[in-house]
Structure formats: C-alpha cells, structure tokens
C-alpha cells in the first residue's frame, strides 16, 4: 500500500515536471480558443439585431474553422487554433449580464468574450472585464460614453459609436441639398435614443445653423402605438423628421405614419433602419433617407470579403445580412487578426490575454464593411466608414433597394482621438477629413 502510494506520487511528480519543462511550441491541433458570444436571442432586439448577429457568428466561425474565408483570413481558426463558440442570450437586463459575464470567464473559462448590443449592457459589463483582467470585445452598442467616461485596458469596441451615424446623416443631407429649415424628432426615451437625438440635433445646428427645432418627442421604448405622436409630427409639418427608432418600434411607426401622410409632408430620416427593410417591403416609403450604422448590407461596397459574407450569409439564412451581422463579422475578424498578430510574436503559441490585448490595441483590419481602425480611446475604440442612402421599392425583386448612396470616410464622420463626441460636433467637427 505504502509502496503503491509512493509510486503514484512519483508518476504524478514526473508528469508535472515533464509538463513544466516541455519546450514552448506552436499551438496544438487539439487546443481550442473558447470564445464567449453574447447577443440577444430573445426580447425586442432579437429579431432586428441579436439573431442576425448570432447567425453571422455561426457562419463566420464555421468558415474560419474550415479555413474557407478569403484573404487575409484564409488560415484556419485563429492561427490554426479551432474556435469554440459559447453563445448566450443578452436578454434580461444589465444585472443579469454582469453575472453571465462572470460565469463565462470563471465557470466556462472562455478566452475572450465578444458581443453586446445594448448600450446599457456594454456600460455594465465593461468594468467587470477590467476588474477580472479578461479581454472583452464589444461589437455593436452605440453609446459614445463607454470610452469617453472611462478608461479601459482589457475592453475594446470594434465598431464605431452612434456619433458616426448622425454626423453621416447630416453630411449626406447637406451633400444632397436636403432642405431643413425646421426639424422634428422622435426617439426612444433611453440611452440610445437620447444620445442619437443629441448628436443629430448638434450636428444639424452646425451644418444647418438656422434650423428650428419644432416637435421633439421621446416616447418610451416599446410604445408600439404612435397615433398621437404622428398627429404632433404631421401638425408641425417640419421639413425633416428624424428618428433613431429601431426594430418593432420603427416598423410600427412607419406602418402608422405612412397612411397619415407624414412621409409626404416631411422628409423622413432614420439613423439605423436597414434591418426593417426586408420585413416592411413596400410599406417603407420611397425616398426615406436611412443609415445602417456602417457601409453594410445593400449599401456595402463590392470586395471579395463582402461577397463572401453577403452571399454566404444569404445562402445560409435566406435573407441578406444587415448591420448586426456585419458588426459581428468585423468583430470576429478583428479578434482573429489580433490573435494571429500575437502568435506571430510568441512563436505560434495560443496567445495569453495580455498578448491579445497588446495586439488588438491600435489594430487595423479589413472587413466586409470596409477598413476598421482602432484609433480612438488609446487604440480601444474603432472608427469605420459609413454609407447613407435613400429607399426605393423594387417591385420586380419585391424588396426595398437603396439608391443615391453616398460613402463617407471614417475620419469624416468620427471624432479625432482625445475629444468627446458631443464637444467635437458642437465645436464644428474640427479636423474632419472628408475628401
């Protein structure tokens, strides 16, 4: 008994010694990169953003693991390491998400968490990742406050924040000589709606200095019925009606406002409306000016990377990809670029969190929606180009086409480093590079 106990310990000690003394080498084929993915799988944001993001994550990860993605992402997985996704639901509020994030890092032992669509969720989880010293990649949420009100080392956002959407809209309207002596707005009464409204009005006051704000409505999120609001907007008769409504709320607003003549009386301008075009179809009024939070979907520019995503996603899901699908894709591709950059420096080993963080800071990488550059917040916040266009229903294809598309460079519609977005807009958008 005694002898056997000693022998057992000897074997164990020898194993530990062998493991610790083994020379560092390239990542093994059995090793995997556990990637926590958080997106809305239920709740009001699921259909518009969460599920398309999940679908694109599945498509992209499958393609990367097979080594089937186009250049420069043709290497399988992350530098040869297979990606193993752990997908969880973002629905349930910020408190739940904080606990879920801890679970992902501490119970599921994921290497990196990537995701988050809700601004409130992003604001809640960022400090937790920092406290745990774990890498967190925010892929979509719009509020500029994340890096403008705090500084993080382990947190990144791989998509531009909402300032770009609204500055892009105003630049488009100016470029197309859209008349705007009077402006009305309807936005949801929470972080996204209020931040978007503030950015749009501030940008409007810069490029349309004589604009007069008429009706300014902030119905609660999920209101669903806008009869009274539409009366107020039609009654105001403003040149432009701006809205950052999205999902079911935007669909309801369009369905209720079109028969009441709002699109005929005012130019409708929506900051994030691409995702409602497939479900609304011919119900979406022609000539509506819309943004998609990037050069995405029907506004994306032709490239091998974009063809790969657009066609592959459409074939897999029966519908073309919209903003959330693109943002998820560019986030995963960014993480792949960072991982492979880190591996090129450490001899091909699976990178540690600190190696990944160092590689991601200030990184640039091509994506289906254009070049992503981590230029703000000391290399932790991305900027990217944006496209704005008008809607036109195509009866032959039975879908809403986007026409009159204008592209704006990332540095034309995003603030420069070190300046708060709203200060940059109110200061006349100094330093913008628009040509």
């Amino acid at each position: 008994m005694d002898h056997s106990w000693r022998a057992h310990w000897a074997v164990l000690a020898a194993s530990v010694a062998a493991t610790s003394l083994a020379p560092a080498g390239p990542a093994s084929a059995q090793e995997s990169f556990k990637l926590g993915i958080v997106t809305f799988l239920s709740g009001p944001a699921a259909d518009s953003f969460g599920v398309p993001a999940r679908n694109s994550a599945q498509f992209v990860i499958d393609q990367l693991n097979k080594g089937a993605a186009p250049s420069p992402y043709e290497k399988a997985g992350f530098g040869g390491i297979k990606i193993e996704p752990v997908i969880i639901d973002e629905n349930g509020g910020a408190t739940k998400q904080v606990q879920e994030l801890r679970n992902l890092y501490q119970r599921d032992n994921v290497d990196v968490v990537l995701g988050y669509i809700g601004s409130g969720d992003c604001l809640a989880v960022a400090p937790i990742a920092e406290e745990l010293k774990k890498m967190l990649v925010l892929m979509d949420c719009g509020t500029p406050r994340i890096f403008e009100e705090a500084k993080y080392n382990y947190v990144f956002r791989t998509a531009a924040h909402a300032t770009m959407d609204n500055v892009g809209l105003i630049r488009y309207m100016k470029a197309k000589n859209v008349k705007m002596d009077t402006l009305s707005a309807i936005n949801q009464d929470y972080a996204w709606g209020q931040d978007s409204r503030a950015d749009f009005i501030a940008a409007a006051q810069q490029l349309y200095p004589n604009v007069k704000i008429q009706t300014d409505l902030l119905p609660k999120f999920g209101a669903g019925q806008y009869g009274t609001e539409i009366s107020a907007l039609v009654g105001a008769g403003s040149d432009v009606v701006y809205s950052s409504l999205w999902g079911g709320d935007l669909q309801a607003f369009v369905l209720q406002s079109a028969p009441r003549g709002l699109p005929k009386r005012s130019q409708l301008v929506f900051s994030a409306a691409d995702h409602v075009l497939p479900p609304l179809g011919e119900k979406m009024p022609d000539g509506t000016i819309i943004g998609a939070r990037g050069a995405y979907g029907l506004m994306s520019q032709k490239s091998p990377l974009n063809d790969w995503l657009f066609k592959g996603y459409e074939a897999a899901n029966g519908v073309y990809p919209v903003q959330a699908a693109y943002r998820m894709t560019q986030s995963i591709l960014g993480l792949k670029a960072a991982a492979e950059k880190a591996m090129s420096k450490n001899g091909g080993k699976k990178p540690s969190t600190d190696e990944l963080v160092a590689a991601m800071t200030g990184l640039e990488w091509p994506s289906p929606g254009g070049l992503i550059q981590m230029k703000l917040a000391d290399g932790h916040q991305a900027i990217q180009p944006i496209a704005i266009s008008r809607t036109k229903y195509n009866p032959d294809l039975k879908r809403v086409d986007l026409v009159d598309i204008e592209y704006f460079a990332a540095e034309c519609v995003n603030p420069p480093p070190g300046v708060k977005s709203i200060d940059w807009i109110k200061g006349g958008m100094q330093g913008a590079k628009c040509n």
Binding site: D216, L217, G222, S231
Partner: protein, 298 residues
C-alpha cells in the same frame, strides 16, 4: 380650435381600445374580486391570434374585410375557451383563499403566457396590416386620420353600452349583479355562482383579447406587449373605481386625453401626466371616481 380638436380626437382614439381592456379588467374584479395581472397577456394573445388569422386570410387572396371578420371570430372563440379553461381548471381551486394568493396565481399565468406567446409566435415582431386600410383615410382638423382608428371609437362605445345593457337590463345581467352584491344570498336563492364566475372571467378574457385584436392591424406585435397594457389599464380602473363600467369609461378618456395633451404640449411629461392623474384621484377619491363607499357594483 383645430389644435384642441386634434388633442381630443387623439385622446379618444387612444381611449377607445384602452377602455375595452379596462372594461374586462374591471368586470373580472367586480364579479370575482380578482386583480387579474394576466389581463395584459390576454390582450397580447388576442393581438397575436388576430395577426395569424389576418395573415392566413390574406395569403388566400381574400378581401381584407374578410380578414377583419375572421380575426374577430377567431379571437372570440379561442379567448372564450382559454378564459373558461383557466377559470375552471386553475382559478376555482383558489377561491376562498387570500386575495394575494389569487393575485400571485394570475401573475404566474402572466409569466406562462409571456413564454407561451414566444413559443408559438416567436420573438420576432409580426404585423398584419391589411384591415388597417379597410376604412380609408379621413381629413379632420387639417390632419389625415386612418379611418380604422376612427371606427374604433364607436366600436368601443358600442361594446361599453352592450355590457352596461346586458348587466342592467337583462335577467342574466341581474343575476351577475346579484352575485356581485351578495354572493351568499345569491347561492341561497339558487344562483349557480360558480357558473357566473366562469362566464364572467371568460367574458373578461374575451374583452381583453378583443381589444388586442382590434389594435393588432395597426401595431407591430412583439414580446412585452402585455406588460405595457396591464399597467395602463390598472391606472384606468384605479381612476374610475375598481368594478365600475362608468369609471372605466371615464378613466380611459381621462388617460387618453392626458396622454394626447402631453404629447402635443409637453412631451417630456407624457408618462408623468398619467400617473399624476391617478395619484390626484386617489388623494381625493381613494375608492376611485365612480366607486361607492360600501356597495360594490360594476
């Protein structure tokens, strides 16, 4: 003048469907003494059933008018059956218990129905707008209104009158009123109280579902529909007095007008106004505007 008329019309449109929901809630409370938290779920159920019915009819190329009738028939049949089943199989087991227990039971039903609607119809927003175009558009006070919205006003008035008439001018209604006023005396006079409970609850469910069906063509159905409605309808019945039909009507009009006036005049105070009115009524009339001190009636 036009501005004032716009506020009144917007308020009445809002009040029309809210009144139908609140009517069901106040009826159930009046007869069964249940504060039915699940009432909003029946509104959502009606909206989803209506959307399915309209979509099915439209897919077969029928006129939207047939879709409108089909959605009302489908909702009436399914909601009545659901109401009867719930009352017979669940609620009756808790009669005689503390009112809080029944409140919790209806809360459980609310949660179950939330998930049930997701299970059946998914989490994606759905809409069925064909009936919304049925009555064209009308110009009023310088604005275009959708005829469907305006038609809802007489429909809700008609439903309110029918319920009032049924309760006050028919034998069955008088039996229900007898149960409301004194259950024990009604039993001793040979009234089958359990049957009255079942019918009243099913009718309350039907009214909520009917309101959902009537609003379905103009909204986008998505998860969370029920919680907003239940909060507003509780505010209405609290203002009007729990169990009072007249109270539900006046409460709905007050809430509709307050909301419309806020949106037009002071948008930032929209939600505040609703609860300010409720608080003000409770301060001066804790029983609600139309609730009598002792006798309970609907």
């Amino acid at each position: 003048m036009n501005f004032f008329l716009t506020i009144v019309l917007d308020g009445l449109i809002q009040a029309s469907w809210l009144f139908i929901v609140a009517l069901g809630l106040t009826l159930v409370f009046g007869v069964l003494k249940i504060l039915n938290i699940a009432h909003g779920s029946f509104y959502a159920l009606g909206a989803y059933i209506a959307a399915s019915a309209v979509t099915m009819v439209a897919a077969r190329g029928f006129h939207p008018g047939i879709g409108f009738v089909a959605m009302l028939v489908a909702v009436a049949l399914i909601a009545s059956a659901v109401g009867l089943l719930l009352e017979r199989c669940l609620l009756k087991m808790f009669y005689g218990r503390d009112e809080v227990v029944l409140l919790l039971v209806t809360y459980a039903v609310f949660l179950i129905f939330e998930d049930l609607t997701k299970l059946i119809w998914g989490v994606n927003p759905i809409y069925a707008t064909q009936p919304y175009e049925l009555f064209g558009n009308l110009e009023f006070a310088g604005l275009y209104y959708v005829g469907y919205d305006l038609v809802l006003i007489p429909i809700s008035a008609l439903i309110g009158f029918a319920v009032w008439f049924g309760l006050n001018r028919t034998v069955i209604g008088k039996i229900v009123l007898a149960v409301i006023h004194n259950e024990e005396m009604s039993v001793s006079m040979g009234v089958r109280v359990n049957r009255v409970y079942a019918v009243a609850f099913a009718f309350g469910v039907l009214l909520a579902a009917l309101a959902g069906a009537l609003t379905a063509p103009k909204i986008s159905m998505q998860p969370g529909l029920s919680s907003d409605v239940i909060i507003l309808s509780f505010a209405i019945v609290v203002i009007g007095g729990l169990g009072s039909i007249e109270g539900a009507a006046v409460g709905a009009i007050l809430i509709g007008l307050a909301r419309a006036a806020s949106v037009h005049l002071m948008p930032e105070a929209e939600l505040f106004m609703i609860y300010f009115i409720m608080a003000a009524v409770l301060v001066f009339r804790p029983e609600g505007l139309f609730k009598r001190e002792m006798a309970r009636r609907i």
